[in-house]
């Protein structure tokens, strides 16, 4: 295939279109977040005459945004950690040990991830209330982990299965127990898979809205997506602050994906192709 000039131009045009489509809402939010209140609901000008960081300052001064950010980081971080810890323990036997009905187990795991969250939120709410965990991090960590686990298990099981079988066998012959073979040989080789699965779990939890809205009542456990929606005042919608918060909440995601995009792609496609 040769890329002629016409073809090149087509490609570039398509790329520009896709990028515009994907990036303009973010750009819009970014612009909104630095516009003074007076310019928020008029167009033109598109670009603010005098960019301001006022909305960002308000976020931290008039709202408990520090606490909300901390909640989000803690919930997403611990969710990722729990999903990895449980996911690797489930994925290793499914990938390596002789177990009856592996496919059935993996199928059920996948089936669990197909439940719409809205179906489970009611029963979960009752359970969480009964356990006295309403409005705590744990309510969110536990519910988020259960939803992130199926994907984590699948990604890690695929990754482990793709490691050469002889490595684990060599470890066993060299004197490892199954657990040592797992932790000393297989796990260090899984780092890309762990990174991919961990980030996916983190992102899921970071952006999750329904559970976070239902299981929290105050700033004690409220996460950023919920906090943003609850910003609006009584008489007006605080567009500037919403935009500023959106940008703040998007930044960690962008940074994470930029750092780990290779692993994410690799982790998700493990098992798809040989070699």
């Amino acid at each position: 295939m040769t890329a002629g000039p016409a073809r090149q131009a087509m490609l570039r045009a398509t790329l520009a279109l896709v990028l515009t489509w994907a990036l303009s809402p973010i750009l819009w939010q970014a612009l909104t977040s630095v516009k003074p209140d007076t310019e928020l609901v008029i167009l033109p000008p598109l670009l603010p005459a005098q960019p301001t960081l006022a909305h960002y300052t308000v976020l931290f001064e008039q709202h408990p945004f520090n606490q909300v950010l901390l909640n989000s980081f803690a919930v997403a971080g611990l969710t990722a950690f729990a999903a990895l810890a449980l996911g690797t323990l489930a994925a290793f036997p499914l990938a390596r040990l002789p177990i009856r009905g592996k496919l059935l187990i993996l199928g059920v795991v996948l089936g669990c991830s197909l439940f719409p969250a809205i179906v489970t939120v009611g029963p979960l709410f009752i359970i969480i209330r009964a356990l006295g965990m309403r409005d705590t991090w744990w309510a969110l960590i536990i519910s988020h982990t259960t939803f992130a686990l199926p994907l984590t298990i699948w990604v890690l099981a695929n990754f482990l299965r793709d490691l050469p079988e002889d490595l684990y066998r060599a470890a066993r012959v060299d004197g490892c127990t199954p657990w040592q073979g797992f932790t000393r040989v297989l796990l260090p080789l899984c780092r890309p898979g762990l990174a991919a699965a961990g980030i996916l779990a983190f992102l899921f939890s970071w952006t999750e809205f329904l559970f976070a809205l239902t299981f929290t009542a105050t700033e004690a456990a409220r996460t950023v997506p919920v906090a943003i929606v609850l910003f609006p005042g009584v008489h007006e919608i605080r567009w500037g602050e919403i935009a500023a918060a959106s940008i703040l909440v998007t930044l960690p995601v962008v940074v994470l994906v930029l750092i780990f995009h290779r692993q994410i792609v690799h982790g998700l496609t493990a098992g798809a192709i040989k070699g």
Partner: protein, 375 residues
């Protein structure tokens, strides 16, 4: 060093038998090879010894210690894998050290042992490298080093040379032999390469479909193949197998369709066929090197016509038409003949093998029938 004894070992995957009724003893310090075509169960035998797979029934003993239900850790075996299975995230030093680290040896001992093994194998210069930076031959050495470092009771080697190029393979083969002569560790070696088996082993077991066809020294197996399978599997170029008919007049001879081959008398052999029996169908085996090719037929020789000649340096493989049969014969390296040219051939009568046409079993014309299994 212990001997390894298999007592009626069976292995099935579901209903599919992989190892049938395996009973054999690998002697103390012996280099024993399992050889056979792929899928004959030879690698499974290694896995059973290592404890990587459970047996379905039967027992495995190291000396008089039953190890059948021990974990690999409890058996004290070391294994070299065909893929080498070096740990990609560890340096060569750490790969070699790993079996010792798992056993919680002190750092001083580990360093000392790694240096010793590296010196023995000539890989001192590679210790800081990672497996990905090594050539195939270097990886093979590291894998070997990792196996010998803790002086295991038994070595298991699963096609350790088959990923090397031909040149390196032959060189490493002789190094392996030297290493075994030095360490004297009981070694169970698996290969599909009959030449490798012949050149390395003290004893060989030829396997087919999960059972041992013949066991013996390389020479025994080559000279007295127990059946047509072993005769065809061992030896290169392959043995000629021709169908014929065994008769007596009263001395035994085989009728090959166009010629009569007189068989040498074997007075002391407990012959299962005899002059009093009716003639029977047999398969006659003649190794290519037991056929001498002459440029012109002599009064004492038979004659054949040339189909093709493949020179191979020191010798040539000649394909000949001999009556109704097509046979391979070894000729001198400078042997030249045009297709359809008539040449003379002489057979080494004492080296002719005769097999029962129905069972494929050897008829004991030219030597003792070696026992099929056990020792």
């Amino acid at each position: 060093m212990p001997h390894v004894r298999f007592d009626r070992v069976e292995k099935r995957y579901g209903d599919k038998p992989v190892i049938r009724d395996l009973t054999l003893t690998v002697r103390d310090g012996e280099f024993f090879t399992l050889v056979g075509p792929s899928g004959c169960g030879k690698s499974t035998v290694l896995n059973l010894v290592a404890g990587l797979e459970p047996v379905t029934s039967g027992e495995i003993y190291f000396d008089d210690r039953a190890v059948t239900h021990l974990s690999p850790k409890g058996r004290d075996v070391a294994m070299v894998f065909q893929s080498y299975a070096l740990y990609p995230h560890k340096t060569v030093f750490e790969n070699l050290a790993f079996p010792l680290r798992v056993r919680k040896r002190t750092q001083a001992i580990i360093t000392h042992e790694v240096r010793r093994v590296a010196a023995l194998l000539g890989i001192e210069g590679l210790l800081v490298k990672e497996p990905a930076e090594l050539s195939g031959g270097e990886r093979q050495r590291v894998a070997l080093g990792r196996a010998i470092i803790r002086e295991p009771a038994v070595f298991l080697m699963d096609e350790p040379l088959s990923n090397l190029d031909a040149h390196l393979r032959v060189r490493t083969r002789s190094e392996l032999k030297r290493l075994h002569a030095r360490l004297k560790t009981t070694t169970l070696y698996v290969t599909h390469d009959q030449e490798e088996a012949l050149s390395l082993s003290e004893r060989i077991a030829v396997m087919k479909e999960g059972s041992i066809q013949q066991m013996g020294s390389p020479l025994e197996i080559y000279r007295f193949p127990a059946n047509t399978f072993v005769a065809e599997f061992v030896g290169s170029p392959q043995i000629n197998l021709l169908s014929g008919r065994l008769s007596w007049d009263p001395a035994p001879y085989v009728e090959l369709g166009h010629v009569r081959l007189a068989l040498p008398p074997v007075p002391e052999s407990p012959v299962t066929v005899g002059p009093q029996r009716p003639p029977c169908n047999v398969i006659v085996g003649i190794r290519p090197e037991d056929i001498r090719v002459l440029a012109t037929a002599s009064p004492t020789s038979d004659f054949a016509s040339v189909i093709s000649v493949e020179p191979a340096g020191g010798r040539s493989v000649a394909s000949l038409r001999w009556g109704p049969h097509e046979i391979r014969a070894l000729a001198a390296g400078d042997f030249q003949a045009a297709p359809d040219q008539t040449v003379g051939i002489e057979l080494e009568a004492a080296r002719i093998h005769v097999f029962d046409a129905c069972t494929g079993r050897r008829l004991p014309w030219d030597g003792p029938l070696t026992p099929r299994a056990g020792s």
